[in-house]
């Protein structure tokens, strides 16, 4: 494996008595395109929050782009997100009053970059997602697929180490959905590490690697299966028992 971008080791997350994650171990290398699948309540959103450093694990270690999350302050985590993590949400979450380029430029707002430079990069990012002609449109003047492209451009504009997408096609019709998926593949081919959360099995199967979750554990990881590493599975099991206690 090449340099790991994401490393989870025995990660647990409990809310009161409920164990949302019960000992997850996962490595994502630079340049991978990973699908995380699983039914509702399987812990995939919790895992996304933890990989995205939006939340801290109850136990276990999380390393993102070489940073051990446990030792970092809230401000340092914010900076980590600003520089290394891009988010794409199911419901786009664009700023209603702002144009496409302003929305994308907001992806750089907290990285300490000048206004003009932010705008220039935003326009470039919009061109990359095929919206070079929609730069000055407001969200309410864009279709759902276009909105999601703007959101992807916003996630990409900071050149993140990993792009995290939470059900990116969940709010789109199937044609727009497959276009978005094609875009994610394209970006991945150009070098971006992408992790997609979905409950769409067909979509997941079409991606190079699938991580299947159930009850707060990684039930199946196609990478492990391909390498046939029983050792890894045993380790997962050990963590699962430890964390679920």
């Amino acid at each position: 494996m090449t340099i790991p971008v994401v490393t989870l080791r025995g990660v647990t997350k409990t809310y009161g008595d409920v164990g949302a994650l019960r000992g997850v171990t996962l490595d994502v290398a630079a340049g991978e395109l990973v699908a995380v699948v699983g039914p509702s309540g399987s812990g995939k959103s919790t895992m996304l929050n933890i990989i995205g450093t939006l939340d801290r694990p109850s136990d276990g270690t999380v390393t993102i782009a070489g940073n051990d999350v446990a030792t970092m302050s809230d401000d340092a985590l914010s900076a980590l997100r600003a520089e290394h993590i891009g988010f794409v949400f199911q419901h786009f979450h664009l700023q209603a009053g702002a144009t496409a380029s302003e929305n994308v430029a907001d992806g750089l707002l907290y990285a300490g970059m000048g206004r003009r430079e932010r705008h220039r990069r935003a326009v470039d990012a919009l061109k990359r997602v095929g919206l070079g002609h929609r730069v000055d449109r407001r969200p309410n003047q864009l279709s759902g697929g276009e909105k999601q492209r703007v959101a992807i451009a916003r996630a990409l504009v900071g050149d993140p180490a990993i792009l995290l997408a939470d059900e990116p096609t969940g709010a789109l019709d199937s044609a727009s959905g497959s276009a978005i998926l094609a875009l994610l593949r394209e970006l991945n081919a150009a070098g971006t590490t992408v992790l997609v959360i979905t409950h769409d099995l067909d979509l997941a199967v079409s991606l190079p690697r699938q991580v299947r979750m159930r009850d707060g554990l990684v039930e199946h990881d196609s990478a492990d299966a391909a390498e046939g590493t029983a050792r890894a599975s045993a380790a997962d099991l050990a963590f699962a028992i430890g964390g679920g206690r």
């Binding site: 939006l54 914010s78 900076a79 419901h91 979450h93 907290y110 206004r115």
Partner: protein, 399 residues
């Protein structure tokens, strides 16, 4: 990894302003309504202060026109009974170097004036009769609305000048050949009608007759008031001199006042009313501030997802706090600016209607705007702090 550098990043003023404008622009109706409270408060305060100072400016103009160098000498008012002024009071006053001109009036105790001989004796309409020495109107800066002042010679013909209110009560608004009043059992020709005299409003209700005629009506010859226009540079000295000139032996029996002081004092009593209105404006402002705080709390509740997204994009807690603080400041400043415009407008319209000069003190405008900034900051502090505490996971949790 330069997260350490990035962690120090603060947003520039332009970016914060832009975020605030976005936040407000998407909800214009709410912005207008919540800024309205602030606007009303500021407008009320500016209008009250503006109208009051416009009226002061008007008074200053009046005082400038009347001159603040007129003194009134009367029988001293006090515990003991001071004797009435001597009949020579006016001559004594005129002999002083500081006195530029002077005139006097004396109440004719039993005098009464009627429209005609059929009016019952009791119906005097409160009009008093006064004997006059010199040109009272001129010394007091008053004007004749019609006709001329009395003949001041020792044996003057029987004639009469009417004060402004007295003329109204008698139904004579200008001098005409047949404008006569019934007085002491005979008709007397009206030779002049006065305009209101601002320095001595009590004279508006009087009629004036020559001393010779007054004597026929039973006048005792003692002046009740001496009006003296003195050297403007030496008003305080003239005050003392006048009393001793009129009664060299006992100046304490002569009361000397400056009528313009009374006008200024009347205006000063208006100040307490102004204070009350400013207080009401302040309450409106406070309520407006609470309205802004309320709006901001609701805005923060509604925008949990936006906060989550911004946190996911890398915003630190203080970036979020600053964003909502600026939005609150913008909201209340908007109200403040609108309030200043409305307040100035109201003052201008009111002053214009009264024929006053428009005077709005700069401190009222800058103070009003400063107050809105403080209100915006204070009102926004709590909502902004709450916004900063919204967990970053809200972006994913919100649908």
């Amino acid at each position: 990894m330069n997260a350490a550098r990035a962690a120090r990043v603060r947003l520039g003023g332009v970016d914060l302003l832009r975020l605030g404008v976005f936040g407000l622009r998407t909800r214009p109706g709410r912005v207008v309504l919540s800024a309205l409270g602030i606007a009303i408060g500021i407008a009320a305060m500016i209008a009250v202060v503006g109208i009051s100072s416009s009226s002061k400016a008007q008074l200053d103009q009046v005082l400038d026109a009347l001159g603040t160098n007129v003194l009134t000498a009367t029988q001293a008012q006090g515990f003991g009974d001071a004797p009435p002024l001597p009949s020579t009071a006016l001559e004594s006053a005129l002999r002083q170097d500081d006195v530029q001109s002077a005139a006097a009036v004396g109440t004719v105790a039993d005098g009464a004036v009627y429209r005609n001989e059929f009016i019952p004796t009791a119906e005097t309409k409160g009009i008093g009769v006064m004997a006059a020495w010199g040109d009272v109107a001129e010394v007091l800066g008053g004007e004749l609305a019609s006709g001329q002042w009395l003949d001041d010679s020792a044996v003057a013909p029987e004639q009469i000048v009417l004060g402004a209110n007295a003329a109204k009560a008698l139904g004579i608004n200008r001098v005409r050949p047949n404008a006569r009043v019934w007085m002491g059992g005979q008709w007397v020709q009206v030779v002049g009608v006065l305009a209101p005299i601002e320095l001595a409003e009590d004279l508006d209700n009087q009629v004036f007759v020559p001393r010779s005629f007054a004597a026929e009506l039973g006048f005792d010859g003692s002046p009740s008031a001496v009006y003296a226009r003195v050297d403007p540079e030496r008003v305080p000295q003239a005050r003392d001199v006048l009393a001793s000139a009129i009664r060299p032996g006992s100046p304490q029996d002569v009361g000397v006042t400056r009528p313009t002081d009374a006008l200024a004092a009347k205006n000063a009593t208006d100040d307490s009313f102004t204070g009350l209105l400013v207080g009401i404006g302040a309450v409106a402002l406070l309520v407006g501030g609470i309205g802004v705080a309320n709006t901001m709390v609701i805005t923060v509740l509604e925008r949990r997802a936006e906060v989550g997204v911004r946190r996911a994009l890398g915003a630190r807690r203080r970036n979020i706090r600053d964003q909502f603080l600026v939005e609150s400041l913008l909201l209340s400043s908007l109200g403040g600016v609108a309030g200043v415009v409305i307040g100035v407008g109201v003052t201008a319209v009111f002053a214009f209607g009264q024929g006053w000069p428009i005077a709005i003190p700069l401190w009222a405008v800058s103070g009003g705007l400063g107050a809105t900034v403080v209100i915006g900051g204070v009102s926004g502090l709590y909502p902004a702090t709450r916004a900063a505490r919204i967990p970053p996971t809200s972006a994913l949790a919100a649908v």
